[in-house]
């Protein structure tokens, strides 16, 4: 492909890459995205040599004044956009940028037009970089980098023909094989890609070493927090239901001790509620206190320790990566003892819920040490005993409602003696006699609880939990409603739970005199609705999620503190740093390893369908690679054309000789072959001719015969050249 055509192609690709980045990052309006895409495709087709398209394009071309007018209109549109439509500088600027790009694409004539296009695409890719922290930005940006290197190289190389030849002599002598050929050769291809790779490597080094300030300046205005429900001061009954179909990821919970004993289920406690008015739950104990911080930067919750009697529950260590939510609640397994993370302060209320001072606008990571309560033997045998006054005041409140519920509760528990057994009786009554359903529009009902218990007998977690709390309270057992998430989706590749909006859940905490608050969940396990699709796709999805998580960890959240850590690691010793690097590499790539393992698994299971699902994309990928590698013209002659170092040395020597002779007034014209030049030298400067002849011979042998000179010949040639330099021309 000739250089100028390659340059046009590369330029349009550059613009396309930045356009794709911006479309994915900023969410352009559809009409603008379609318009820009169409302009890019048209420009590409025009370059590909479609004659009819070229003719079409010439029809649509306007005069320069017309285009200039369009730019002015676009600029006015930008102001209108900024002031009234978008109302913000950045989106309006991005829209204007796309308009400019379209206009430039139709006006690629002069070299400065190309420069303008590059500037626009650079601004676009930077804008999309500051608007997003998603994983897709990595391949787009890598592509941009490669195409960018290509474009700039080609731009530089096509520069010469257009410039006026000021000095024919100097142009004639410049030993520039690439420019003289003016074709994209295999060497050029690999040179460009190698340069791009080197640039990328260098950027990576800079990324990890140069101090960083903040991340994503404009990110805040654009990235919207995930809207949650069930964690505010007041929660209407039935509020959680509608979000049970939303699969967006809310958090990821890493367990440092591996899978918990209760395989596959982890309760992540959010907020507890004490007051129920027949329709909505309210948290009256919402007085928040600042949690004190110990020397190591860990926040220790004291009230949980003082309230309860000393007990020996299991501890769970969790690392939680919380997406930006609209609630300041910090979720964790019950009950939180210690929290550590990069927060300035942490607050807690009297129910043991933990909050940040305000909702975080970016993803946060924190680790928690939780200790669950277990039922102590004293409670198994004891008769109802006296509760502390504070517990009675808050957790025995009942709204005014029909007697039926109290009667029902008494009926269920009349054979039981102990508090714990009464609670389990109600629990099993609810679990066995009611059906789980999300299609229960109980929210409009006057008495939703009665409707649930006596009429419909279907509902979801909130109804179950509310029913259990109220029934317990009518027979004098303190209980409260808790909202949070129930994590069930275990990612075996990254060893963490993926928690989604649809995992939002409500359950019950029952107070036992000796053991304290015990978690009970009356909701029966729902029928798995996630099982659609084959296991292979699910494995793939979990794998991708792992990669996304690591991307967020290693690149997006990489901060100055992490840099400091890296520097310390480096100081600590190169071996440990290398280990760490290897570790992080293996973490990043372990999903692929696991994928191979998984493929082997499927193969051994003999599930032909899922095997095909894995194999077909692999085969298509291989075919594309083969096509790129074999059928492309640049693959030809890649092996045969090797220039050895010695050959290059003699070619450089020859170039120096030619330049020296030109300074002495013997110029080598472009159309002058080497031996003719030797004869010319002989006529003009006979003293020099022997040296020139011998260097030329070695050069010709190496350049055109691919016979590299020996060491002796090289040193001889160098001597000749040195003699030539000192020789005086008469």
């Amino acid at each position: 492909m000739p250089f100028d055509q390659a340059l046009r192609f590369a330029s349009i690709w550059l613009a396309s890459t930045s356009f794709i980045g911006l479309t994915l990052g900023a969410g352009l309006p559809e009409w603008l995205a379609v318009l820009t895409g169409a302009a890019l495709i048209l420009a590409l087709l025009r370059n590909a040599g479609g004659k009819s398209i070229g003719r079409l394009a010439t029809y649509t071309l306007m005069s320069t004044t017309g285009w200039n007018l369009l730019v002015i209109v676009g600029f006015l549109g930008f102001w209108v956009d900024m002031l009234w439509i978008s109302g913000e500088l950045l989106p309006a600027g991005v829209h204007f940028l796309m308009i400019l790009m379209i206009i430039k694409l139709f006006n690629l004539k002069l070299r400065r037009d190309y420069l303008h296009l590059y500037a626009i695409s650079l601004v676009a890719i930077l804008a999309s970089g500051s608007l997003t922290t998603d994983l897709w930005y990595l391949p787009i940006f890598s592509l941009y980098l490669v195409v960018g290197v290509w474009t700039l190289l080609l731009f530089q190389l096509t520069k010469h023909p257009e410039e006026p030849r000021i000095l024919t002599m100097s142009v004639a002598m410049r030993p520039q094989p690439l420019a003289s050929v003016s074709q994209v050769t295999p060497q050029f291809f690999w040179l460009a890609n190698g340069l791009a790779l080197a640039t990328f490597g260098l950027t990576l080094v800079i990324f990890f070493t140069i101090p960083r300030v903040g991340a994503g300046f404009y990110q805040k205005g654009f990235g919207e927090n995930i809207r949650t429900s069930g964690f505010s001061e007041t929660v209407n009954l039935g509020e959680i239901g509608p979000i049970k179909r939303d699969p967006s990821v809310v958090m990821r919970v890493e367990l440092s001790d591996g899978l918990p004993q209760q395989a596959g289920r982890l309760y992540l406690r959010g907020v507890a509620f004490d007051q129920y008015d027949g329709k909505a739950w309210t948290n009256r104990l919402n007085y928040r206190r600042v949690v004190s911080e110990d020397a190591a930067g860990t926040f220790v919750l004291r009230n949980s320790r003082s309230l309860a009697t000393p007990r020996l529950g299991d501890t769970i260590r969790q690392n939680i990566l919380l997406e930006p939510l609209d609630t300041p609640v910090l979720f964790a397994a019950p009950f939180i003892e210690r929290v550590s993370g990069k927060f300035p302060s942490v607050q807690s209320d009297l129910t043991g819920s933990v909050y940040l001072p305000f909702p975080s606008s970016s993803r946060i990571e924190y680790s928690v040490l939780s200790r669950s309560n277990s039922v102590l033997p004293e409670d198994l045998g004891a008769e109802p005993s006296v509760y502390p006054e504070s517990v009675i005041r808050h957790f025995l409140q009942i709204p005014t409602q029909p007697e039926r519920i109290a009667v029902l509760a008494k009926e269920i528990t009349q054979t039981q003696r102990t508090i714990y057994n009464k609670a389990t009786a109600i629990h099993s009554f609810l679990t066995h006699n009611f059906r789980y359903s999300l299609d229960a529009p109980l929210i409009e009902q006057d008495q939703p609880l009665e409707e649930f218990l006596f009429t419909r007998k279907t509902g979801y977690c909130e109804h179950y939990a509310t029913a259990m709390v109220i029934m317990l309270r009518t027979i004098g057992i303190p209980a409260r409603l808790v909202t949070g998430f129930l994590a069930t989706e275990w990612n075996e590749y990254g060893n963490y739970y993926v928690v989604r909006q649809q995992d939002a859940h409500a359950w019950v905490e029952v107070h036992l005199p000796h053991s304290g608050w015990i978690t009970m969940d009356p909701t029966p396990p729902s029928i798995e609705t996630r099982g659609s699709g084959s296991p292979a796709w699910h494995a793939l999805g979990r794998m991708l999620d792992t990669i996304r998580l690591q991307w967020g960890r290693i690149f997006v959240q990489y901060s100055a503190a992490d840099q400091l850590a890296v520097v310390r690691e480096l100081e600590a010793g190169s071996t440990s740093a290398r280990n760490k690097a290897l570790d992080s590499m293996s973490t990043l790539f372990s999903p692929f390893m696991a994928m191979f393992g998984g493929m082997a698994d499927y193969a051994s299971k003999g599930t032909i369908q899922s095997l095909a699902e894995v194999l077909i994309p692999t085969l298509i990928g291989l075919a594309v690679l083969l096509w790129l590698g074999i059928w492309r013209p640049w693959a030809n002659g890649m092996i045969s054309k090797k220039t050895t170092r010695d050959e290059q040395v003699i070619m450089q020597l020859y170039g120096r000789m030619v330049r020296h002779l030109a300074r002495k007034g013997i110029a080598k014209l472009t159309a002058m072959p080497p031996l003719e030049f030797v004869r010319l030298t002989q006529e003009r400067w006979s003293n020099a001719s022997s040296a020139v002849a011998s260097i030329t011979e070695l050069y010709c042998r190496a350049r055109f015969g691919h016979i590299p000179p020996t060491r002796e010949e090289l040193s001889l040639a160098e001597n000749h050249l040195r003699d030539l330099m000192t020789l005086e021309k008469p």
């Binding site: 094989p177 003289s180 002659g637 159309a671 080497p674 031996l675 003719e676 055109f704 016979i707």
Partner: protein, 313 residues
Amino acid sequence: MNPTGIIQAIQDNIARVIKGKPQVIEMSIVALLARGHLLLEDVPGVGKTTLAHSLARSLDCSFKRIQFTSDLLPSDIVGVSIFNRQKQAFEFMPGPIFANIVLADEINRTTPKTQSSLLEAMSEAQISFDNKTYPLSQPFMVIATQNPAEYHGTFPLPESQLDRFLMRLRIGYPSPEEEKKVLDRPQSLHPAEELQPLLATHDVLLLQEQVDHVLMEESITDYLLAIVQRTRQSDLLSLGVSTRGALALSRAAKALSLVRGRTYCLPDDIKELAPIVLSHRIMVARAQGLRQRSCEQAERIIQDLVDSIPVPV
């Protein structure tokens, strides 16, 4: 066998007869090694026939000469079938074309029918007669001559047939000193007769094979194609060089490299050969005035074209 030494010896051998024309001798050997045919275009009496004769003598090859006249028939070249009384059957009597080196003297004096019978033999290296095919002996080389000065009663060869000749050479008058040496020589014997053969036919075939192994670097091929391309685009020419012409230039360049003792081609080879290999394959546009078939003019146009094309560095 050292090819360079042998080739040099042949050149020296011929130079004993053809005085002061080393370039012409060299090019005729190039044509032989490139398995090509030679067209000598010059005024009578400058040694065209002598050159052909000396070449054949130096090579220990069979040599036949055909004087082309307007009444020459194809059978006079190819051969005839004669009834053999003893065998009671027709017998093919091979004509003068069955030789290693054939001199076709004044080729433009005969009719197109006869010309084409020769030209067919040149491109196919075989003769078809009476439904039988007779291969010609190898090496096979035709050296044709024509006289540019006289046009009365000639049948000029069309471009398509001229294309079959690898190169067209002009011998030119020798310098006065060289001419004096010619005159000083004893006149009793034909000068070519005293030459001794230096190379067996088998060795000629070996040398021709070696030409195939000469390396032509890609940039030189590009250079060659650029020249060919330029002839097709030039306003001065109404007909450019064909692909066969490009092939001929490539072969000739390889043969010249071998003659000069190299295993690879140089841009110099292309540049030097372009006028003599390409000039008879082009048609000068009428706008250029002058006589259309001016040999010198065509060569000069080619030379100018080549001088404007950058050489690979």
